[in-house]
Symmetry: C2
Subunit: 320 residues, 2 copies
Amino acid sequence: MPDRLGPPLPQPLFEKLVIVGVGLIGSSLLRVARRKGLARVLVGVDRSMDVCARVRELDLADQVYDDAAAAVVGADLVILCTPVGAIGSVAEQIGPHLSAGAIVSDVGSVKGAVVASISPHLPAGVSCVPAHPVAGTEYSGPDAGFATLFHERWCILTPLEDADPKAVDAMNAFWSAAGSKVEVMTPAHHDLVLAITSHVPHLIAYNIVGTAADLEEVTQSEVIKFSAGGFRDFTRIAASDPTMWRDIFLHNREAVLEMLGRFNEDLAALQRMIRWGDGQGLYDLFTRTREIRRSIIEQGQETTAADFGRRTSPDAGSDQ
Amino acid sequence: MPDRLGPPLPQPLFEKLVIVGVGLIGSSLLRVARRKGLARVLVGVDRSMDVCARVRELDLADQVYDDAAAAVVGADLVILCTPVGAIGSVAEQIGPHLSAGAIVSDVGSVKGAVVASISPHLPAGVSCVPAHPVAGTEYSGPDAGFATLFHERWCILTPLEDADPKAVDAMNAFWSAAGSKVEVMTPAHHDLVLAITSHVPHLIAYNIVGTAADLEEVTQSEVIKFSAGGFRDFTRIAASDPTMWRDIFLHNREAVLEMLGRFNEDLAALQRMIRWGDGQGLYDLFTRTREIRRSIIEQGQETTAADFGRRTSPDAGSDQ
């Protein structure tokens, strides 16, 4: 099949790219950086020796370190791909070793807290351009990554007000070359947008799976057997990395609680419609929500394959 | 590719099968019935003339009617595939025309209310064996169906206490031949199990999509753009048929409100963990929910393809 990522760049955008934290996102970045020739030298850093060994086996980087401070020397781009809760301490470790002119970025799902934890540690002359690629799967670790993860997905940049515009342009070029569509916004607005499009959906998915696991009238075996009725859709995102998600909720508390408050109000209204038999109210909401799905598909953020193209779908089996 | 449904039966299980309501489920039943030779004569009934015309074009049935009463004459199996709210009136229409020894079944997602609305209309000698195939997609109508929809999915039978055991056996054979795994339970237990595995998940999916649509700080365009962060998983089930789902909530009110109460309690606890920064509590829940996902995959009720095999997944694009 044709390579959706296109040919490598005629010349690299960066001399030395350091990826700190080689999980799903970090390893996907290394893969796409190599495939597209985004940097002359690729460096992978992970504090886990097992991950370092695996990165070598998979040949994802030219150099592999378990020490971020040593790795960043001479780098012109450092991207922190650790869970959000670890970003501050990594920034503190690498700060004194960064070269003037370097760009420090990240891929965290929360931006206000990340900016606050990175910026105090950066020396003068280093630009901070936080980024959030809105892409992922429910799997974790260096084996889970793939080069096309960011293809046609949005990447949000939240540069600090005093960031060098050239650094913002360079990060824009980097993510575009990785296949992403790029949008720039403030960290605060990012955190609000993601609270409703990602964080609260994950929270309620984790919650319904937890509720189902705790029932006494319905066995766990029944929940699993009959999950195809809708429940299983939630279990995918409720299988995401626990450390990453703990950190997201702790670091985007205000926006999550604000959006959760709205969700709860709306749910109370829906509950009341059911109790009082307001069929028209239910029908109206259920019709309105269909439109949003249509827009998401039209804008290429989703597949139209029935049932997500699971193996019961028409295109997955022989059918008339 | 090999036909996962296997060869047709050596001889049909029924003489005349009548499907009332030829939507996603009804048309899938006609398709699998023809493919597997489940009945000698296949009859499709729909009150919409457009649907009747389409059923003829697709050649889904041997006979097509817009009048259920006329269609059921001489049938030994009648399966009502209308929305739950319409089942009572269809049963009333067909009751006087049913032959002794016939089986009346349905495919509704609610069983207590269905039993109550069908049984008063059935003459003596007719067995009522309600069924619920736990399978579906977000699409509706006769074009949306396919023969493998029920393959490896569970079908729950909720026979009335006085049903002829031979009728229950016959329905078991019918669904097994359609590819399903069959389980028998009481209508009341069915309604509780489905409230947590299907009805409440749909309700909260509809709700979050509605909440997101109504925000003023975050535009609808932003919600759509950044939906890949989790939100889009909910939009699939929030795109399901509005009439069908209105009827489900109105007809399974008690069980839905009971399960929703538990969901709300658990969500309040989670909200409190976020407000007070209880990272350990969050981490523990998020770890526990991962296990349930694993069981669902192990038991063949889900695909392991990352991100549901959407086109950003490794197996969907060229990758290293």
